[in-house]
């Protein structure tokens, strides 16, 4: 028989082990803010390519059918994606180092695998949409699939990620009703929401 404090410690250690082994806690809040800023910068660039100098409404008939526009948009989107993912990896790596844990853990692997399924299927679906000329619903589809991916990944990381996922899905559905304003919704979902969520995460866990 052990002293009673030892049994209390046993219970505490069960909780710690359960959390530490299943939660990816190196996720950096700051990288969320950066991803949001990159997305906004990308959206501004896209605006000048697609809409300028025409107003947002008639873009389907005017701009996107012009040769080269779609390719430019895909290049911008890819640049935003690469910049955001690199910032995320780099800053999360730093955070993991600070806490003395490895970035590549069973928990982070679980986050990645769970997110990969909706992200890859969504990505392929969006590419098919673009090549078949369904431009109007591409932005809503980005938001919805990204939201689903976040919710899938959230069981192994901070709860805030799940709420961000719900917001992205809701925004995506609303934006599907207003296909001409895809870029505006896209910048809100990937830009503004990321900045808000990143700051919350930063204030709560990174300070």
């Amino acid at each position: 028989m052990k002293p009673i404090q030892e049994y209390e410690k046993d219970i505490a250690s069960i909780r710690t082990m359960m959390e530490r082994s299943s939660k990816f806690i190196s996720l950096s809040g700051l990288s969320g803010v950066l991803a949001g800023i990159y997305a906004l910068a990308g959206a501004v660039a896209a605006y000048y390519i697609v809409h300028y100098p025409v107003s947002p409404d008639p873009y389907l008939t005017y701009s996107i059918t012009e040769p080269g526009v779609l390719t430019k948009l895909i290049i911008i989107a890819t640049a935003v994606l690469i910049a955001s993912v690199s910032a995320g990896l780099w800053l999360s790596h730093q955070k993991a180092k600070k806490h003395g844990i490895k970035l590549w853990s069973p928990a982070s692997r679980a986050v990645l695998i769970n997110m990969a399924i909706p992200l890859i299927s969504g990505g392929i679906f969006i590419l098919i949409m673009l090549y078949t000329g369904h431009f109007g619903l591409a932005a809503p589809a980005c938001l919805i699939f990204y939201g689903i991916a976040l919710i899938q990944g959230s069981s192994n990381t901070y709860d805030e990620v799940r709420y961000l996922g719900f917001c992205e899905i809701a925004l995506g559905l609303i934006s599907a009703v207003f296909p001409a304003y895809g870029l505006i919704f896209w910048s809100f979902g990937f830009g503004v929401l990321h900045i808000i969520y990143g700051s919350i995460l930063y204030n709560k866990y990174d300070k």
Binding site: M1, K2, I4, Y7, E8, K9, D10, I11, S13, I14, M17, M18, R20, S21, S22, I101, K102, S105, P106
Partner: protein, 99 residues
Amino acid sequence: MKNPFEHLDKMLEHRVRLQIMSVLITNNIYDFNGLKEILDVTDGNLASHIKALEKEKYVSVSKSFLGRKPNTKYKITERGRNAFKKHLDALEAVVKHVK
């Protein structure tokens, strides 16, 4: 009142073994290196405790290769899951009993 101490599982009274089981009950499958990192114990220490749990049939082992590196994975058995739950109930009872 019955003595709640008698429901404690001798095998799980050891902290490291209890921690191994806690990780396995949440994650289903975990590998040796992952366990070592989380528990912050030496190879030998971890191996001997896992062996004990294996002998008791609380965990099952599967060995495979990742490239040329051996990769040993552990999984909790039904028996282990039940034992863990019973032990946790007993722990709670013990703590409550004393207070």
